[in-house]
Amino acid sequence: MTSGTAAHLMPLAIAVPVLVACLMVAAGSRLPHHVLDLLGVATSLTVCALAAVVLTRSADGRVVTWNGDWRPKRGVSVGIPLVADSLSAGTALLIAGLMSCALLYSWRYYSPVRGYYHALMLLFLAGMEGFVLSGDLFDMFVFFELMGIAAYALTGLKIEDPTAVQGGLNFGIVNSLGAYFSLAGIGVLYARHGQLGLAPLGQRLTEHRADALTVVALVVIVTCFLVKAAVVPFHFWLPDAHAVAPAPVCVLFSGVMVELGLYGAFRVFWTVFGSAVPHDDIRGAFLPAGVLTAVVGALMCFAQSHLKRMLAYSTIAHVGLFTTGLATLTPEGTAGVALYAAAHAGVKSALFLLVGVILARHGHVDELKLHGCGRDARFVSWLYFAAGAALAGLPPFGTALGKSVTEEALTRAGHPWGPAVFVAVSALTGGAVLRAGFRIYLGAGPAPDAGGPVAIAAQTTGIEEHRETEQLSRTPRTMYAAVLLLLAGGLAVGVLPGAGRAFDHAAEGFTDPRGYAAAVLFGTAPAVGSPHHESTWTAQGVVLGCVSTAAAVLLAAAAVRAPRAPDARRARLRPFLRSLAAVRALHSGHVGDYAAWLLFGMTALAALVGVLPVDG
């Protein structure tokens, strides 16, 4: 198979799910449920296969196709290209793989809801594939919106559940507002340069000196991606949406949609602004943003008793780590983050699905109220603890490998505090998950009625969560199969020989705007340069991974043992607890607050990029 054929497959990865979704809509209520399930899984597996072929071809150089056959002449074109380098093709594969697992898990889910769920999931798939493959700024916006529309509807799908619809609305309003500001940014950039393609824009910007307009355009365009990526202070919608969306939808939200936000931001940065805006300015903005996001996410995660919200905040914490890694603006850091994100997708998705199993069995997801409920579920508890430890960074899971590579990249880029942040954040998020596991599966700690009030009134607990399935007496095998597949994926990233090398290669291509422009505009396929550095296990990385896991276990044990610490110790903790409560109060569920933070965040980002000189 030539790379030409592979190029033809890219539009199909977008079109096939749309066509099947149309079929489902046209068939209306006439398709029996298992046919819908089968169609859904088959379609996403087909997209998997298409993405896999594109991925193998993109290893030799980027795969490019021009829609409508508007190939560029002398480097200019009116058309829209789809471009796959190893990173975007890999992401496309990850998207389709997660979608397959989610649909496999939701086999026999939602029996009453016609084809809506399946059709929306397939449109969501099409939107994400289009977003990741597109090589045009406005086209990215369109697919961003498609992804958004499907996601808002999927979030609100449980219409019997009061929180669900509100979460969907907050999600929709904040994301749309961000997207409109970004569109204004695209308009500004278009006015100056008269181009929309990433590669031609990048070329035009190379010829111009970066001025205020360029920086403003960068900040404003990147805003919608950062909203999607839930970087603080754009993150407020995420726990609301994740906490209420059905578990298989959360898999896609946490596993890949949020990461797509970062992908978009850094794809646009590298291909369009990479040569014009000084890299130090970007580091000066994104390193602090990443660390802040990681810390806020980790603290909020540890403070939750609603299991899905806990996992959602853990996603925010990890996104913070990813942002920090990508903000090194080195191929090494990018490779580490790609590894980390791929493994995190598997592990976090498995956790969401396990919480889904709990929800199906017990009808709510409140950690304290579930105390001891899972004592009979031996097999599930092993899966849960494995995933929890993997989240904390236990070698040989891929999360540990990604974490260690990113830590090293940070240290080498002159940020020796990096590993400390990574260890602390992994320990806190992993600790929160393990703590819940200890309570639920081991029955550790005092039972809730002995431990004081179950929940503080001013926060969302998981008690009101509604079942997503009929009450299940036995959990279907397909659900376990999906969980096992995801965990195995998270493990494979760390264990497979050559995985590190492949990610190095992908990162090298991603951070090379010149090669990108040459391949897109002139069809020349310069071989992606061989990586300077090999991402692999190091002694230091293994040790740090073990340290963060051990710290997570200790934190979890401490939290379970002493839910009510003695007064003397509480007094010492009081300032900390008070500030944590203040941070918590900011997450108010009020959409007006979120919109205000959005504008404030844009201003702050612009100030960081434009004002703060940082020597990196």
């Binding site: 569109l183 204004a184 308009g187 997450h587």
Partner: protein, 115 residues
Amino acid sequence: MNLYAYGVAGWLLLVGAFGVVRSANLVHAVVSLSVAQSGTYVLLLCVGYQRAAGAPVFGSTLRPSTRVTDPVVQAMTLTDIVVSATVTALLLATAVQVHKQQGTVDPNRLSALKG
């Protein structure tokens, strides 16, 4: 002229955002959001405008050699309008559901999601 024409677009964006921030009714918030989006239409069309040029629709009165305004921004605006209508529809449907579940659409009184 730059500041005025584009400023109107920026003003609409900010005013729409303001509406979302101070809204006491989710329907009002959704409508304000659509006002913010109309700021992007105005911006795009102003970007594409050219003095003394016709619309990019050729026909009996306009030969392909005449100067026309930028068709690309107009195509983008068309897409944008479609997005606006569909997002508004979806969010309104969601607001109706919120009202059904919680009996109010005042964000100050919605309390399901906190912390």
